[in-house]
């Protein structure tokens, strides 16, 4: 196991392995998207209250899930990079940040598009919406710090510290925002309840969730490969590759 990890984390091996994995991951992602969208848009029944417009959930919910998942990945990779000084962890963290930000952005935009017909307004200062917006700000902070520091190694370490500070703060921010919301305006808006979701809606939702996961994995590997080439541009194997 350790030997494999060590081998995998060497940039050269990662580059070739990722190159082999990308077509497969991309194909699975495409199939899942087709299946999920078909089930979600054509097979799943309309909601008894919201009619057809609930179907945006099949994009919105997976994007929201991914927005949090990717942040955890960044923090985890940051910790690994700080502790064991593994270059690949830095690369994955750096390549993940814009993806996470875009998932967060998609979640916010789709939520807003859904909110207009359902709640009658584009934006509500609801606890969940607000903490998602703050998450987007945290992503921007990580991206900006990564770009601002020229030395890649230092940029990765600095962003890792920031991501870890953010991870400690996210639950605090999340609960304080919810608490603030309940104090100020009470439950004017209750979101789709967690409890009962019918199986015919759950299947496309899960398919889409996996499609998003595979999309993230595919694009992450593509970005990480480009990043590896850039960072290792002075090593012999890259020179050989691009010759």
């Amino acid at each position: 196991m350790w030997a494999f990890l060590q081998k995998f984390s060497s940039p050269k091996y990662f580059y070739s392995l990722a190159g082999q994995m990308i077509p497969w991951l991309g194909a699975i992602c495409g199939l899942l998207f087709i299946a999920g969208l078909y089930y979600g848009l054509f097979v799943a029944p309309p909601d008894y209250q919201q009619g057809e417009s609930y179907r945006i959930m099949f994009i919105h919910v997976p994007a929201a899930w991914m927005s949090m998942f990717v942040y955890v990945v960044i923090a985890l990779m940051g910790a690994i990079g700080l502790i064991w000084k593994i270059k690949l962890a830095d690369i994955i963290a750096a390549s993940s940040a814009p993806l996470g930000a875009s998932f967060t952005f998609i979640a916010l935009v789709t939520g807003s598009l859904w909110g207009k017909p359902m709640w009658g307004t584009w934006w509500v200062w609801d606890g969940r919406l607000t903490s998602e917006l703050i998450l987007l700000f945290l992503y921007f902070g990580i991206i900006a710090l990564n770009v601002a520091i020229e030395d890649k190694r230092n940029a990765a370490r600095a962003s890792a510290v920031l991501a870890l500070v953010g991870v400690v703060n996210i639950p605090i921010i999340h609960y304080s925002v919810q608490w603030w919301n309940t104090l100020h305006q009470g439950a004017t808006v209750s979101k789709i309840g967690a409890p009962s979701i019918h199986i015919s809606m759950l299947i496309p939702l899960l398919l889409m969730a996996f499609a998003f996961k595979f999309y993230y994995a595919t694009v992450l590997l593509i970005r990480a490969r480009a990043e590896v080439l850039e960072r290792e541009r002075n090593s012999s194997w890259v020179m050989e590759l691009v010759k």
Binding site: A144, R157, A158, G166
Partner: protein
Amino acid sequence: MSAFGILLKRDLLLAYRRRSELANPLLFFVMVVSLFPLGVSPESKVLQTLAPGIIWVAALLAALLSLDTLFRSDFEDGSLEQMVLTHHSLPLLVLAKVLAHWLVAGLPLLVIAPFLGVLLFLPTDAMFPLMVTLLLGTPVLSLIGAIGVALTVGLRRGGVLLSLLVLPLYIPVLIFAASAVATAGTGLPIAGQLYFLAALLTLSLTLAPFAAAAALRISLS
């Protein structure tokens, strides 16, 4: 005298020697607050409801503005590097610098806040709570801010970046503090909010110096 005490004394002395600079964040605080009646409405009822939020947002921005001085001059003349190289524990030294910074930049806000409260027609019941929230909240701002400054101190244009990094992390303080002041104005108990602020202070007091020290080591490497 311990390293903590020596550094604290040195930073306070340095701040005293440059006392004209000390007034700037304070003036900024007063000016931002006085812009709101001009921009929103001079009506006492409107200002009264907005007052806790205005004062706290202004305090947040003033804290942010003053943060840049925390490590900047020490970084430029190289003494920060020497501090990192000493055998003393770096988180402790960071804590001393943050304490000195709070004493010269945070504490004055607390003194001037009631005056601003009067300007914005804040109910008298809320004056003392306002000061208590500032007493508990502004150290948190300095401590969290220290992490952001430590990360950006090596950069040429760290100022705007600093606000991007630090402001989202300030949100819980703003929420609890402003809500405590607003609640106090209506005569309801505010112990809950104050406990939360105290918890945030304890958490940042224990964790932030370590994060800031790690960030300093990265910035200086």
